[in-house]
């Protein structure tokens, strides 16, 4: 955290999150990504003459779940409005959005910025709208031309407008991470910044500490990773602070983060003529979200990351660090909880399981949006950890078994058996071996009994050799101590 100056940064974020509906918001085209350009299009999302929008119910459902998870109120009757501007990736010359009557308002998000105090920040509003297509430049087949891919046009978006309650880059990153974890937990968004399904516009200004009025605002575009948010804001705050200290004024404008050069660059003036001529879309009736609809969505809300983390720390006694890591993605949390279900309420087991998952499993786990692929199934892992808990294998052996079964459908139990790895804990069998060793090595036994206690290692080693390492060392120790006493 940078040292406080006389100037205080004021940051507000606008997040555009694509909703993971199967089809687009106003037509039946698939929302799948990465398809051949212009293959998921129809008269509606191409904006062909005569085509009309029909709202996709599941977009409204996901939007309402988003609002509820963020503590927002849901408006019973909201209005779709047309936002007009000309751009080649906008097929109708207007975007269907919401303006003065968004479906949801007045929410909040609890953040825990790194190095700062946990606190609550405001969410002004959330509205539902359609995404635009993509202009492509430098496509090999058409050198020197720009072409347009409209597969993305009509993908449902929620725009989540935050209050200017954030006071530094750490706040902004904490806000975005928290927001993303909630959307991903809801299953409404895949949280992918790089691919643009979770996009962020940053508004920042500085004001003298202790004053009320905001300074002139700058918007930063092209921020597509948490690292960019952190670096871009740190740079821009320093720049604005410097300008403020020198008393320099400027007009509101938009800048772009240049990650390679590590600075923001001027993009364009915020045009005074930026008039989107919003008006209610006459093709769409008001969006009516009655109490029953909202209640049905509320009933479908999953456990959110905060609640799950709280359960892991307070109920099972896991350290915060572990809980954070294990709830960082809802699928990882689900996976971990499937392991816990094999020994419900066992805090000590939970910690041992958490250690194993964090050190072994997560190293080989890959995440892509909502999809997580684990190197081992939860039922395999339950079986493996069960073998350790039963004393059949040691913790060290468990790592070897894990290495052998991961990425396969092998059963850890069968594997242990087939390899003769089962730890020998049968006291009578071990006692025979121990007694035999003592009988064969009378000199060493006498030395131990005469006080050379480090001679115990000689006997333990001998048992291990004879059992090819499968003897339970705890049991062996116990027997030897008794026989040599």
């Amino acid at each position: 955290m940078t040292a406080p100056t006389a100037w205080e940064p004021i940051i507000g974020l606008e997040v555009h999150a694509q909703l993971l509906t199967r089809t687009k918001i106003f037509c039946g085209c698939a929302t799948s990504f990465g398809a051949e350009p212009n293959t998921h299009v129809c008269p509606v999302c191409l904006g062909l003459p005569g085509a009309l929008p029909v709202l996709n119910r599941s977009a409204a459902e996901m939007a309402v779940r988003t609002a509820l998870a963020l503590g927002c109120t849901v408006r019973a009757r909201s209005v779709f409005a047309r936002k007009s501007y000309f751009y080649p990736d906008l097929p109708k010359g207007y975007q269907i959005s919401q303006f003065d009557l968004p479906f949801s308002e007045h929410g909040h998000l609890d953040i825990e910025p790194e190095g700062g105090e946990p606190r609550r920040v405001g969410i002004t509003r959330i509205h539902l709208e359609e995404d635009a297509g993509k202009n492509l430049h430098g496509v090999a087949e058409v050198p020197g031309q720009s072409v347009i891919d409209l597969n993305r046009a009509g993908t449902p978006l929620v725009e989540i407008v935050g209050e200017p309650d954030l006071r530094g880059p750490e706040d902004a990153v904490a806000y975005l991470k928290k927001l993303r974890s909630i959307l991903v937990a809801l299953g409404v968004n895949d949280g992918n910044l790089e691919e643009g399904s979770f996009r962020c516009d940053v508004n920042v200004s500085v004001r003298r500490r202790g004053t009320e009025a905001f300074g002139t605002r700058v918007e930063i575009k092209n921020i597509n990773s948490f690292r960019h948010v952190q670096r871009g804001l740190a740079y821009e705050i320093a720049r604005l602070t410097d300008l403020a200290e020198r008393g320099e004024t400027f007009r509101q404008h938009t800048r772009q983060w240049d990650d390679e050069r590590g600075r923001t660059v001027f993009l364009r003036e915020k045009e005074g003529s930026d008039d989107y001529r919003y008006f209610p879309d006459p093709d769409l009736p008001a969006l009516v979200l009655d109490e029953a609809f909202v209640a049905a969505q509320r009933a479908q809300l999953p456990e959110l990351p905060d609640a799950r983390r709280h359960r892991l720390t307070s109920v099972l006694g896991l350290p915060t660090y572990d809980a954070d890591l294990l709830t960082s993605h809802p699928r990882i949390g689900d996976f971990f909880e499937e392991i816990l279900r094999s020994r419900p309420g066992d805090g000590a087991f939970a910690k041992r399981a958490a250690n194993f998952v964090m050190t072994e499993v997560l190293a080989g786990t890959t995440t892509h949006g909502l999809e997580v692929s684990f190197p081992i199934t939860s039922s395999q892992l339950v079986e493996l950890l069960g073998l350790v808990e039963a004393g059949t294998i040691s913790g060290k052996q468990a790592k070897d078994v894990y290495a052998a079964v991961q990425g396969t459908d092998r059963s850890p139990k069968s594997w242990v058996e087939s390899q003769g790895m089962a730890q020998v804990s049968d006291a009578s069998a071990l006692e025979t071996i121990c007694q035999g060793l003592i009988d064969q090595n009378p000199k060493q036994a006498s030395a131990y009994r005469a006080g050379k206690t480090n001679m115990l290692g000689f006997f333990v080693g001998g048992v291990m050799r004879e059992t090819k390492g499968s003897a339970n060392p705890v049991v062996v120790n116990e027997i030897l101590l008794r026989l040599l006493a």
């Binding site: 008269p43 062909l48 005569g50 009309l52 010359g93």
Partner: protein, 487 residues
């Protein structure tokens, strides 16, 4: 009388009895279309397609396959309805040669009913106009007098029926674009309740007002055609879930005792004397049928034109934004993107369309929105209330469809306001979303040109509108077989 000069309902019966084949009818239609006097009515006319559709119906009949309710009936389409097998230009250069990949719902329903398409009909560019003089592809002549306009914007649809080129046509009505040309061409034109007919595939002018409707020579024909295209469509969110009654059967019911209101405001200044005389005669005939005719007040009528032109232009400025030269239609190159947009739209749109886009852009602009668009929406509510109050006293509202008969070409083109006033009587029902019909009432005593009687009923009560219109038609001196340019 030739079959082509009869009602859709009679022709249907003749086709069903095998007295005439679809192909024979199609050939008769094409023969009339070939007459150079009717040049300009069609924007897309493909005799081979028409004959092929007719032959397909005859084949189906020969094989004993089930046939749709309009099997073999020749029907024309206003060029604002998209068709997958014919160009759709909306009377505009910006869509010259444009071939849509899909059918409008109304078109698809006609196809499913085995209608035979006779072509795409001329219109004012993007349905903006009252005389059909705004088509980029030339005017349509009024079949009663080729020196006069047919009305608009569905001028081609009205003229095609009046000239006997086809039996029925689809048009669209935003502020009077079906009823007014029907009156000026002496045919029946119906605008149903907003939401009755799907707008999917109707190229939008003003979405909250646009409605597809029908033209025919007689009331029953217009009703039959409307029955086929009406009904809920899940692809249009403003289409209404309402059963479609048997409107042809509504024709012939008794009208005795119906209370009819005549707005004082509709018989005021600006009404041509021969129109006034014809309407007064029509009211007399209605009284003769046992209806009572009472004067009513529609105090917000005088705000209709200004309210309409704020709302309609606002919506059109947005609806026409998609014609940008990027994906389809005309593109005029420019040195950069902005220049391409400008050059394309400048070359592609005609003066009236540009005027309305500018007006609409202005009224939606920040700082003007409340003074114009928001206020117009409030006045629209007041106009609706005028109707609600009126329908507490009367069963239907009657009056002139148009303040004048068809006028000579060029008479009103220099003064847009004069042109806008031509829709004075049709605009209120459009703003209120109510059904309206224009029925031929008389030949004007002075000009000999047709005068239309407009009948407006409450929302979704088209049945009463058809009943009344049909009863009046039977006694009207303007009825198609009594006063016909071909007769």
């Amino acid at each position: 009388m030739e079959l082509l000069d009869r009602s859709i309902v009679e022709v249907q019966a003749a086709l069903a009895r095998g007295e005439v084949s679809a192909r024979e009818l199609a050939e008769a239609t094409l023969a009339r279309c070939a007459d150079p006097a009717h040049a300009g009515v069609h924007l897309d006319h493909d005799p081979a397609r028409t004959l092929a559709m007719a032959a397909a119906v005859d084949d189906k009949r020969a094989r004993g396959e089930p046939l749709g309710p309009l099997a073999g009936v020749p029907i024309g389409l206003k060029d604002v309805l998209v068709t997958r097998d014919a160009r759709t230009t909306c009377g505009s250069r910006i869509l010259e040669g444009y071939r849509p990949p899909y059918d409008a719902t109304a078109v698809a329903r006609l196809r499913a009913a085995d209608a035979v398409f006779t072509g795409k009909l001329n219109m004012d560019e993007f349905a903006m106009g009252s005389s059909n003089e705004n088509s980029a592809y030339g005017p349509v002549k009024n079949p009663w007098d080729p020196s006069r306009v047919p009305g608009g914007s569905s001028g081609g649809s009205a003229a095609a029926v009046a000239a006997g080129l086809t039996l029925g046509t689809l048009g669209t009505d935003t502020g009077g674009s079906i009823r007014q040309p029907a009156a000026l061409c002496g045919v029946v034109g119906v605008k149903p309740t907003y939401g009755r007919v799907s707008r999917f595939g109707l190229v939008a002018f003003a979405s909250s007002l646009d409605q597809i409707g029908t033209f025919a020579r007689d009331v029953r024909g217009a009703a039959r055609l409307l029955e086929v295209v009406a009904g809920h469509d899940p692809r249009d969110s403003t289409s209404v879930v309402q059963p479609v009654p048997d409107w042809v059967s509504a024709c012939g019911k008794d009208v005795k005792g119906l209370r009819l209101g005549v707005p004082r405001e509709y018989l005021g200044e600006g009404l041509e004397p021969e129109v006034r005389a014809s309407i007064e005669q029509a009211l007399e005939l209605l009284r003769g049928l046992g209806c009572s005719v009472v004067p009513i007040d529609m105090p917000h009528t005088r705000y209709g034109v200004s309210t309409y032109y704020v709302i309609a232009t606002a919506e059109c400025s947005s609806n026409l934004a998609r014609f940008d030269g990027v994906r389809y239609g005309l593109r005029v190159a420019g040195k950069d993107l902005r220049a391409m947009y400008g050059a394309t739209r400048d070359a592609g749109f005609g003066p009236e369309v540009k005027r309305r886009i500018l007006l609409g852009t202005y009224v939606l602009s920040a700082g003007y929105y409340d003074a114009y668009y928001a206020k117009a929406m409030k006045v629209r509510t007041l106009i609706r209330r005028d109707f609600d109050r009126a329908f507490e006293q009367v069963d239907a509202i009657v009056g002139p469809t148009s303040p004048s008969v068809a006028w000579p070409f060029g008479q009103k083109t220099a003064d847009p306001l004069q042109m806008y006033l031509a829709d004075l009587f049709t605009l209120p029902a459009s703003l209120a979303g109510l059904p309206g019909i224009s029925v031929p009432a008389a030949k004007g005593a002075e000009s000999g040109l047709p005068v239309g009687l407009q009948i407006v009923t409450p929302a979704f009560d088209e049945a009463r509108m058809f009943t009344l219109a049909h009863a009046f038609e039977q006694v009207s001196p303007g009825r198609w077989d009594r006063a016909w340019p071909r007769a």
